[in-house]
């Protein structure tokens, strides 16, 4: 991450459609050259936020700076941004070359300069053989490449991606994901990328902003968000297979303990966010891959016996479902392990890797 100044700064931004509030006094600073991913379920306001940055939506409150310039009232073209859309949004009646040059022709840039920029973009994206084709004659992946090219030729500081890979099939998506990452490394531009795909978010981002209900829930590096989610929503939204949530009681004292059913888990290794204040209902979250089983479980601070209920082989590994304190509980084993329904297993985990959430507020404890 290049730590040389702020590229995009969103300050106290609010937006309402009529009486319906969509974004609530939102603040976000994006460093120069940073790759920020806005992640969230549909309807969380992430695309709306991107449209506000682009200037395609008029905001209700707050202001937006790009490269230190207040662009709150500027037209999209004057903001120094390029945007890539989910549906590609290529002009269907123009060739690829005309698509790329449209914005430059509008801006009245000289012909030889346009040709130079198109040649450069086409080379970077390897679309030279496609320049004279119409969008209808391109595949989905090629279209998205052209759409990225259209942002590229604008020679801008900030790239905005609005779910650019969501219309592609799984294979192409992972290919283009790598290409976007390479592109970012090559160009070193600031990129703001909207997606609902957690894998895209984890693999691409310098920092992820997890959004829900028009509010940024957590803004942090992917690993931090994955390992130390600030609340139950973030914990449940990231990770596939999903995190196990076990409802129970927190019992104060030294050491504090988590109780559910007849199971008691000592929390002396758990790093609380602040002081433990007494007892109360809470939820323990542990990711399936942080659970060990068999002999290794005995070396864990917490271990217990369980019985296999369902086995889900996924190829690279296998997800095993069992019960812990009377609740469904899953853990991950290597694909080679052959477990059958009903097999007794010994499972264990380190509470230091778990997350504890307040049952009421859902916040991390």
């Amino acid at each position: 991450m290049a730590e040389n100044g702020t590229s995009v700064s969103i300050q106290d931004l609010s937006l309402s459609f009529g009486a319906v509030p969509v974004l609530h006094t939102l603040n976000l600073d994006v460093a120069e050259g940073e790759f920020i991913v806005l992640l969230g379920p549909s309807g969380c306001g992430k695309s709306t936020l991107l449209n506000c940055v682009a200037g395609l939506l008029d905001i209700s409150e707050g202001r937006i700076f790009i490269k230190g310039k207040n662009v709150t009232w500027e037209e999209p073209k004057d903001r120094g941004i390029g945007m890539v859309f989910q549906s590609y949004a290529l002009y269907p009646q123009m060739t690829v070359e005309k698509n790329l040059s449209f914005g430059l022709r509008v801006a009245g840039i000289p012909k030889d300069e346009i040709a130079k920029r198109i040649a450069r973009a086409a080379e970077i994206l390897q679309i030279e053989p496609l320049l004279q084709r119409k969008p209808a004659a391109l595949s989905g992946g090629q279209r998205q490449r052209v759409a990225i090219g259209r942002a590229l030729v604008r020679d801008v500081d900030v790239f905005l991606f609005d779910e650019p890979l969501s219309n592609l099939d799984a294979k192409l998506r992972s290919e283009l994901r790598v290409e976007i990452k390479l592109l970012h490394r090559k160009l070193q531009n600031t990129m703001i990328y909207v997606t609902h795909d957690q894998i895209e978010a984890m693999t691409l981002a310098d920092r992820i902003a997890v959004m829900k209900g028009g509010v940024i829930q957590q803004l942090d590096a992917p690993q931090t968000i994955y390992n130390r989610p600030v609340n139950r929503f973030v914990a449940g939204f990231l990770g596939s297979p999903a995190m196990n949530f076990i409802e129970g009681q927190l019992e104060g004292g030294t050491p504090a303990a988590f109780k559910t059913g007849d199971v008691s888990i000592s929390l002396d290794r758990y790093a609380f966010d602040g002081a433990v204040n007494g007892s109360g209902a809470c939820v323990l979250g542990i990711r399936p891959e942080h659970v060990v089983f068999g002999e290794a479980a005995n070396s864990m601070p917490f271990a217990t016996d369980a019985a296999v209920e369902i086995v889900e082989p996924m190829g690279s590994d296998t997800l095993v479902w069992t019960k812990l304190g009377g609740r469904n509980f899953s853990f991950r084993v290597e694909a080679e392990k052959t477990l059958r329904n009903g097999d007794p297993v010994r499972i264990g985990f380190d509470p230091a890797r778990a997350s504890l959430f307040d049952a009421q507020s859902g916040n991390r404890m």
Binding site: F85, Q86, S87, A89
Partner: protein
């Protein structure tokens, strides 16, 4: 059993196996009695509705003595094109005996500008309503669509007063304005629905590229609007060409369109009623919309369907 025998019986055996195993492959199609009856009915119905056309054509090719014999369905004994020439050049409308041709040219002079102006206005309307929503845009659109349901009779008198106060009553520009106004509701609806079905991201991309209202319209939207424009042309040409009411009220005597002239020819009763000339004149008047339907029926249906489904 020899090898030859096995080979010969093999297909039969296969068929037997299949019959035993139940349905296999494509479902066989049977022509049922009901289907034959249905098609027979449809063909008879089509022929029945074609009878008037048949009678018009044969009558227009007969001489008056032959018509007086009263054999309506007979083919012309001595085919003649004189009625067609008369209808085009010599038939009398009131005191003038110049046939339909002046009416044809009047209709062309009315239809072409009306179609062009109304489509240009409506496409801009639809584009603005879809992509540049402003306060009250929906209300305006609602009012505009409501205009499609206002009966013409209600507005004729106010329009006459209005147009004559600016000196446009009974003039060519007057009738063109009237047709443009009355085409606006349905055409705007058509274009708005077409643009609303386009991905809005196209518009956003163009804005990021720095294009303004007119540039987006002319460079992005208009080139994509060919299908809906064809539909609009068909609707307007047939509608305006077939119009009688506005023509007779607003065009003025010297600009009367073909439909009005046709009415005058058919209703002029000086001496003999020339059925053959009347038939020829009617076919000539109907020829333009008919031709349009035949050439572009496919587009027409497609556009109407598109406009109807995507509300």
């Amino acid at each position: 059993m020899t090898a030859a025998q096995i080979t010969a019986t093999q297909p039969i055996q296969n068929a037997l196996d299949q019959a035993a195993a139940g349905p296999y492959g494509a479902k066989p199609r049977h022509v049922s009695a009901g289907r034959i009856g249905l098609y027979a009915f449809l063909i008879v119905a089509a022929l029945f509705f074609l009878i008037p056309v048949y009678i018009m054509i044969v009558t227009s090719l007969k001489g008056m003595p032959e018509i007086r014999l009263g054999h309506l369905f007979n083919l012309p004994g001595e085919p003649t094109f004189q009625p067609w020439l008369d209808a085009w050049l010599h038939a009398c409308t009131g005191r003038d005996c110049n046939g339909l041709s002046p009416g044809f040219y009047n209709s062309v002079k009315i239809t072409l500008p009306s179609v062009a102006i109304s489509i240009i206005c409506a496409s801009i309307n639809g584009y603005a309503l879809t992509f540049w929503p402003y306060k009250g845009a929906n209300l305006l659109f609602g009012l505009l669509v409501f205009g499609a349901f206002v009966p013409y009779q209600v507005v004729i008198y106010p329009l006459i007063i209005g147009l004559s106060s600016v000196g446009l009553f009974a003039t060519l520009p007057g009738i063109i304005i009237v047709h443009t106004i009355f085409g606006m509701p349905i055409l705007t609806l058509l274009f708005r629905n077409f643009y609303a079905a386009l991905p809005v991201e196209l518009f956003k991309a163009a804005r990021v590229d720095g294009a303004g209202f007119w540039r987006i319209f002319f460079h992005i939207m208009l080139p994509m609007s060919v299908p809906i424009t064809v539909v609009a042309i068909i609707l307007q040409v047939t509608g305006i060409w077939n119009d009688f009411l506005f023509g007779v009220v607003f065009a003025g005597r010297s600009n009367w369109p073909m439909t009005v002239q046709l009415n005058n020819i058919v209703n002029t009763t000086t001496g003999v009623r020339e059925y053959n000339v009347n038939m020829a004149a009617t076919i000539l008047t109907a020829a333009v919309p008919l031709l349009i339907y035949f050439i572009s029926g496919r587009w027409f249906v497609r556009g109407i369907a598109a406009g109807a489904v995507k509300g």
